[in-house]
Structures are given as C-alpha cells and as structure tokens.
C-alpha cells in the first residue's frame, strides 16, 4: 500500500551516500558502513557482494564504482546519478575549502615543517597500502607468476621505463601467464 515513489528512492540514495561519505575517511573504509546501510534495505546481500567484486576489477576509483552499482541496483540509471552526487559532494566541498586555505599559506615555514613531518607518515601509509594490495592479489595463489611480474616491474622501473607502460605490460603479462592455466 505504502509503495515508495521513484523520487523517494533517489532521495534516499542521495542521503545514504552523503552520510557514508561524511563518516568514512576513505573509499575502502566506506564498504563496511555502506553494507550496513544498504543490505536488506535497498538491495540483497548477493547483489552487494557482486557490486564489491565488480568495483574491484574495473578501472577507476572503487568507492565511486561501488556507489554507482548500489545506485543502479536500487534506482536504475537515475539511481546511479543520485548515488554519484552523494559520493562526490562531501569530499568536493571539504577539499575546496581546505585547498583554498592551504594555498594561501604555501610560503609559510610552518607548512614546510608540516610537510616534513607528514612525509614519513605518508610513506608508511603508501607502503602499507602496497602490501595490502599485494597480499590480496596473491591470496588465491601465492605463486611464482605474481613474483615474476613484481620482479620484472621493479627492474623496468629501475630502468626508468615510464610507469603507465610498465602497468600495461604487467596486465598483458597477467593475461598471458594466468590465462594459460585456466585452459589446461
């Protein structure tokens, strides 16, 4: 009887993503929160898992892709745009405010010291993320092929081959190396 109108579904999507994006510091961290907000309410668990899987495989920012998948499942193509709006708005507004403030202090010494302190922590964070990525990629099969690709990429980078080329090459190598087994 109380059938929700399409408009209210889009409205709900927009608010849900606004909330999730304000409360979570990063894309990967938002998955858990999103799960609680979306599963059982606007989509089934199976579709959510599928959405997470796809957003990890396709190129581009995964938080956005996840938002769009959830939006599509709940409200079709307009749902995609409602979810996208909700996911983009909070970081955009915040970032412009902070960027404006920081750019006007660019020559101050305290900002230089801030960067000096932040660099090692940022380095540590990147190392952590790299390790996490590597671990998830080898979870199914800790094998020589992954190590081979890693070693080849490292040598290519040491030889100053440009990074987009190295990544493309690694992907193609993946198709060749991992593809062979699946046909045996």
């Amino acid at each position: 009887m109380n059938q929700p109108s399409k408009f209210s579904v889009w409205n709900k999507l927009l608010w849900m993503f606004l909330k999730v994006n304000i409360l979570s510091p990063s894309g990967p961290a938002s998955v858990g929160l999103l799960y609680k907000e979306a599963v059982g309410k606007i989509m089934t668990e199976a579709r959510f898992v599928e959405a997470v899987g796809f957003s990890n495989v396709l190129p581009g920012s995964e938080a956005l892709k996840l938002a769009m998948f959830v939006g599509f499942a709940a409200g079709g193509v307009p749902g995609v745009f409602a979810a996208l709006m909700g996911a983009i708005l909070p970081p955009t507004v915040l970032m412009f405010i902070v960027a404006t403030i920081l750019q006007s202090y660019q020559d101050e010494t305290w900002l230089k010291s801030l960067v000096l302190g932040m660099s090692p922590a940022v380095t540590a964070l990147i190392v952590m993320v790299a390790w996490e990525l590597f671990r998830t990629s080898t979870r199914r099969k800790v094998d020589r092929r992954t190590l081979l690709i890693a070693a080849l990429s490292a040598s290519a980078l040491l030889l100053k081959i440009s990074s987009p080329l190295v990544l493309l090459g690694a992907g193609i190598l993946g198709v060749i190396l991992f593809g062979r087994r699946s046909y045996q």
Binding site: N21, P25, S113, S119, L157
Partner: protein, 171 residues
C-alpha cells in the same frame, strides 16, 4: 587552457590504468610531480586526502587540480577522475552477464596488481627522500607510523600526529 587539457588527460589516463583510489597514487605521482606540481605539494595533497572524510582519490585529484589551475582546475580534475568509472559502470550494468564470463579481464587485473604494488614502493621511497625526511628524525617517524598502522591505529590519526610533530619539532 592548455593546463586544463593536460590535467584532464592525466586524470583520465590514471583512472583507466588503476583499479582503485589507493592504487592510483604511484602512477599519479609519476605523471604530475615535476611536471604540474612539486613533490611537497603532492605530499600535502596525499596527507590531506587521507585525513579528510570522503573518497581519497577524488580529494587527491581535486587538490592537485586546484594547485595547478585554481577552482577550474579542481573541477576539471574531478570530472576526469569520475568520467572513466561512470562510463564503464553504465556500460557494464547493461552487459553484466557478458563481462562476467570474460576471464581475461580478471587475469589482466591479477597481472596489474603486483606491478602497482611495486610502483607504489618506488613512489613511497621518492616521497620519503624528496620530502627531506631522509634524516634520523624522518626514519623514526616513518618506522613508528608503520608500526602504528600495522597495529590498526587509524591512518588519519597517524598522519595528523606526524604533521604536528613536524610543525613543532622539525625545522
């Protein structure tokens, strides 16, 4: 105008070649540092995007766009970061059942991931050195940060504390 086109192209490229926000950092660093912004600005951008709520990748894109070309730059970078995944998702949701069977897509990603990890390690080292952190204080902060993150201290807090230590104790 040339700058805006350059920004647009860089972010389209980076977003097509990486599967997630965090994974794009290495590639992005190579494409913009020294060409569009300085290493210091990149560290600021990355630190901030990890600290502020919301998608890191988008914030990183906007900060870099803004630093290069003001508010229009921020919007161009945002647009270029959003476009590839949006087009792909709209396409994929329409042919979902077909793509699901394409094994080579997942093999491509399996090959891409170790290379991305290696690239990120290279970039991490560059940020560390160029950020002037290659001193005993820098190593100390770096190692303590790493240990803190291994023990699941939220990265936001680690970065804020490191930045504060910088402001008050490093010259």
């Amino acid at each position: 105008m040339d700058l805006l086109i350059q920004l647009f192209w860089v972010f389209i490229k980076v977003n097509l070649l990486s599967t997630s926000g965090p994974a794009s950092v290495g590639l992005l660093h190579d494409e913009v540092v020294g060409k569009l912004i300085t290493g210091d600005q990149f560290t600021q951008a990355y630190g901030l995007s990890a600290v502020l709520p919301g998608s890191d990748a988008l914030q990183l894109a906007m900060y870099i766009g803004y630093a290069v070309a003001g508010i229009p730059g921020g919007f161009v970078a945002l647009l270029a970061a959003i476009l590839p995944p949006t087009v792909i998702i709209l396409g994929v949701t329409m042919i979902l059942h077909r793509v699901r069977r394409e094994v080579w897509v997942s093999h491509f990603i399996d090959g891409l991931t170790p290379a991305i990890s290696v690239l990120m390690l290279f970039i991490a080292w560059k940020i560390f050195q160029k950020g002037g952190a290659d001193t005993w204080q820098g190593w100390a902060i770096g190692i303590v940060s790493l240990i803190a993150m291994v023990y699941k201290v939220p990265e936001r807090i680690v970065i804020v504390i490191a930045a504060l230590i910088g402001v008050f104790f490093l010259k």
